[in-house]
Every structure is written in C-alpha cells, then in structure tokens.
Amino acid sequence: MASVTIRELKKAYGTTQVMHGVDLDINDGEFVVFVGPSGCGKSTLLRMIAGLEEITDGTVAIGDSVVNDVAPSKRGVAMVFQTYALYPHMTVYKNMSFGLKQAKTPADEIDRRVKAAAEVLQITDYLSRSPRNLSGGQRQRVAIGRAIVRDPEVFLFDEPLSNLDAGLRVQTRLEIARLHERLGSTMIYVTHDQVEAMTLADKIVVLRDGRVEQVGSPIHLYEQPDNTFVAQFIGSPKMNFFEGSDIVGNASTDITGIRPEHLRETDAANAMVSGKLELIEQLGEYALVHLTTSSGAEFIAKMEHPPSVGKGDTLHFNASQQLIHKFDKQSGQRRT
C-alpha cells in the first residue's frame, strides 16, 4: 500500500499540451475519484500514473520513489479497464494468472492467489470458462479479479462501469466500495459520472482541460464549490446560475448560484427569484420544474409536490442564505 504524489505533471502530444502542470497528493488507502467531462485529461492522468502514457514533464511518485521511468508492471499498480480488456484466447484462470506468470511467481502461489481472489468475487465457478461465455457483469468481476491477484499497492480503475447497464452499475459500484473497505488499498478511479464520484470517493478531483479545478471530499465539493465549473459539475440537476437583476441582491459583477433542491416556493413578496413555468418533469418522488426568468434565463426547481398552476404562470422562490453561492462573473471564482 502506498501514497501517490504528483508534482507539476505535464503532458503534450507534439505541440498540443493536454496536461498543464497537475499537483496532487493521494494518501495511503484513500479512494480518489478523478471526474470531469470527456477530454478533460482524467484518463490521461490515470494512464500516466500507470505508466502507459509517457510523462512530458513533472513527476509521479508511488510511495517514496519517483516512477517516471519505471515500467508499468514494476510500479505496483493494477488496472481495470473500461472494456475489461480480458484476453479472449485465455480462460478466466489464465487471464487472472497472466500477470503473475510474467513476474515468474511460483505456480502454487499463483494458484492460491487466483483462487482466493475468485472466492472474494464469487467467480470460482467460471475459472475454466472463456471470457466470451461470460456476461458483462461477470467479465467485470474477472477484470477486477485480475487486478486483485497482483496484490497491487494502487488500484487504477478507468471508467470500469460505463459498459454495464444501469442496474448492474449500481450493484458493481457497491461491490467496489466493499472491496475498498476490505482491502484498504489506495484506489484511483476515473469516471465522468458525478454520481459514481459522490458515492465512492473519499476525495474527488475535478479536472477540466488538463487542469485540476478542485480537490476535496464529496460533501465539501457539493457545499463549497470553488468555481462555477465545479458548482455545475457536482450535483444533479446542476446548479442554477442567476445574473443581473434576475435575482434579488445580486451585484452586477456576480453570479448567484442556487441548487434546484434548495429553492423553496414562496409568495411574491418574499421572492428572491421568479419565473414563468415552462415544463414539469414528474418523477414520482419529486418533480423537476423548469422555469424562465423575465430576462429569459432558464432555471430548475426541485419540488416535492408539483405546483398546481398551468404553463405560463409565474412562480416565486427563495432560499436560505447559507445555501446561496456567489461567484465572480469574470473569473467564475467563488466569492468568500
């Protein structure tokens, strides 16, 4: 088990710079999630930690040693891929033992480790099968199993759930969380899904265009987003932004952000913000109400009971002061 320390990490393909100097500390045993929109560099960052992508500048250290020029297999990492990347011509057992064989581990040791991992993941029955005869969920377990047998210091997950259907995704997410609890290893997990990030992470790293936007615990990012990007990326539906005179008490240089779940319906006299009803999405447990302000800006309110008014009618909302976020309009940075 080990910590991961990243300093001034840069990556360029030819003249195109894709990572602009990333600094990051990942503690021993921590579950860290890299999250961000596609193309933000999260997978590149993960692959640089794995050693699959050359480092243009800066350092990656696992434990106490810089691993920039260490081969992937010697870094003490194991990786689970989005497409599982199981070797199609090998049985499950061979898939899981391939890495240990490369490292010339004794056969009885390999056998013991593969069987133990299979036990944990409940895939003992499939060990002699070929990957093509397994379901998506089973393949995912094998891929995780292949990582476990290597007994790595750091687990790397590259969007491991995105090829699974919705039901299986939730189930596997829980299993990964349980696995982390059980093994206590450092885990780095890449996803574009903020729900996965929120539920799994000890620490979330939000990336955009090859830069770290914010690092923190899920709840910290939700409550104290550093900037408009993080504010909108974390939380679903995303945070409403109001500018100008759309909202009471907004300086012209500011953006006011309020999450849909924090808007409370009120009367015209107490209203901070008002809008015309456009559309109601009834989700049973709650309703998402889509509105537009007088200046035409759209916003969403999450309401327990859908309002009993018709399309085009005006609704009024306010929110408690500590749930209101203020950002600088120019830079997008949070005002303290």
Binding site: T5, R7, T59, A61, V66, N68, D69
Partner: protein, 331 residues
C-alpha cells in the same frame, strides 16, 4: 523529489525499433535507394557483358580478366559484369523513344490499359450488382468467377494460347460448325494480338474486381436501398445516381490497383505470345527485362523502367493527394 534520469530518446521502444529494421531497410535501401539508383543510371551508357562469359568464369572460379571489359578496366568494386559508362544525359531516352519496339510496347500498354480498365470495372461492377441481389448459390457463383485469380499469369497465358490456337481452338470449332470462312486468330494477327491478351487478362482478373465491388456494395447501408424504394426511384437509377457515387472511394482504390497492375503486365505476354507475332504484342515490362537480361543493354533497361515509374506516378500522385492530402486538412 529528484528528477529521475531519463533514458535517451533513441533507446525508447528499442525492441520495436529493432523489429522494424527489415522494414526500414526495405523502405530506404531497396525502394528508395533502388529507385534512385535506377533513375541515376538511366542517364549513363551502362552495358553488361554477355552473361555466358561470366558463368563460364564463375564455373572455374577464375577472376574475370580486364580485357573482357571493352572499356579496358573493369571495376571490381561494382558487381561483376556491370560496366559503368560515363554520363550520357538524355541519350538513352532519345534512343528509347526512337525505337519502334518501345513505341509498340507503349501503344500496346495504352490499348491494353484503357480496355482493361473499362471492361474490368464495368464487368466487375455488373457481376457484383447481380450477385448482390440476394440470390441463391451466391457462394458458388463467386467461387467460379474468382478462381482464375488464383492462377498465375503463366498458366492463364498458356490456357488462352491453347484456346485461341487457330488450328484446334475457337476458330476451328466455329469453322467446323459451318462457318468455314470464320477467322479469329488474335495470337497470329499482329493487328489484334493485344486483344487476345486482353481476353486472357480479363478472364483472370475480373473476378477480383468483382469481389472488390461486391465488398463496396455490401458496405452501403441497407437503409439507402429502402429509402430509394420508398421514394420510388427505379433500381438502375439508384445504382447510377446513389450507389456508384457513394462507392467513389472503392472505385478510386480499384482504379489505382488495376492501373498499377497493368503497368506490370509481363508474365501474361511472355506465356501467351512471347511478344509475337514479331514484336506486335511487346509491353514495356518485357522491354525492360529483355534489355537488361537478354540484350545486356542496361542503360536502355533503366531508361525504360524509369518511364514505367513515371507513368505509375502520374496515376499515383493525384490519388495519394486526394486520399491523404485531403484528410490532413480535415484534421
């Protein structure tokens, strides 16, 4: 944290680089080097001494005496038998284009090339379209149409030589049927001999073109056909105005493949007619071979092969520009 020492750029992916050495050697030494060498020496008066003499010397392991080289000195740093003469400018090309045999070769290549392009594309496409009609026994038909492609040009040439034999072949069979005046002896008639070769060439190669076309047709979205039928467009119009334009890349690639193949035509002629009757069915590739290895007139061989290269480049460069130059602009 100390910055770890980086291995030099040269040794990164060392195994891959070592593995690529044969490719690099082939690309640089043989393809580029060889081509440049031939072009360079096409401007010299290079000649080769008769092969027989050298074989005789080889046989008894006697060093070749210098008096055999007519120029007086035979440089042993260059391969035995090869006599380098001084730079003669475009003289070889002058001679080449003044030589009747070369002119006939070019004319033949031209006729053969144009006809072969048109007919193999046309027949190939029609056959592919017929096979694409969800017919039964598609595999059987395809197997039959493609099998000649597995045969060598030598075999092809010899079979057609036999079929077109005026004494026993097609001509005699039709005469026996009653048309006693029927004449069809392309291999013995200088005027039409190249069409006899074309017959054989088409028989051998059309199946291949058909397969390329069929692959192209299969690559077209099934929904296009449905859309065209919903719009009430007749089948032939769909082919001409929708399918063929959509298959443009396949056509272009096929065209380049046929064109590059045509310039190389050699074995077929050797087997079928040996360039005869007289020199009526000579082709450039045969001219090159004969000049280099039979007539020991290397300079002529180099000049002729350089002309062949030039003709391929005329086809290839615009194609490469369209195919790759365009792509780069699009990102």
């Amino acid at each position: 944290m100390a910055h770890a020492q980086r291995p030099s750029q040269l040794f990164r992916n060392l195994s891959a680089k070592i593995a690529a050495i044969p490719m690099i050697f082939t690309a640089l030494v043989v393809f580029v080097g060889g081509t440049l060498w031939t072009i360079t020496y096409s401007f010299t008066g290079s000649k080769l001494l008769p092969k027989k003499i050298f074989e005789w010397f080889d046989l008894f392991s006697i060093p070749v005496p210098s008096w055999i080289a007519k120029d007086g000195a035979l440089d042993f740093s260059i391969p035995v038998g090869f006599v380098e003469k001084s730079f003669v400018g475009l003289k070889q090309y002058d001679r080449l284009w003044g030589e009747n045999r070369w002119l006939i070769s070019i004319e033949n290549l031209f006729i053969y090339g144009i006809c072969s392009l048109i007919f193999s594309l046309l027949i190939g496409f029609i056959l592919a379209a017929l096979l694409d009609q969800k017919i039964r026994f598609e595999n059987t038909f395809r197997t039959i149409l493609l099998y000649p492609f597995a045969l060598s040009f030598i075999v092809t040439g010899l079979v057609w030589q036999w079929l077109l034999n005026p004494e026993f072949g097609v001509q005699s069979v039709i005469r026996d049927l009653g048309w006693s005046g029927f004449t069809f002896d392309p291999l013995y008639n200088a005027e039409i001999v190249i069409f006899g070769i074309l017959f054989a060439g088409l028989w051998q190669g059309t199946g291949f073109i058909m397969c390329l076309m069929l692959a192209g047709l299969r690559g077209i979205d099934e929904d296009i056909w449905k859309a065209a039928r919903v719009d009430g467009i007749p089948m032939w119009k769909t082919y001409i105005f929708i399918v063929i334009p959509m298959m443009r890349p396949v056509f272009i690639t096929t065209l380049v493949i046929i064109a590059a193949g045509i310039v190389k035509v050699y074995d077929l002629v050797v087997a079928q007619t040996s360039g005869g009757p007289g020199i009526a069915s000579e082709v450039p590739a045969k001219y090159v071979y004969d000049k280099m290895f039979q007539a020991q007139n290397l300079g002529q061989g180099f000049a002729a092969s350089t002309m062949m290269l030039l003709s391929v480049m005329i086809v290839l460069i615009p194609w490469a520009y369209l195919e790759f130059g365009g792509k780069k602009k699009n990102g």
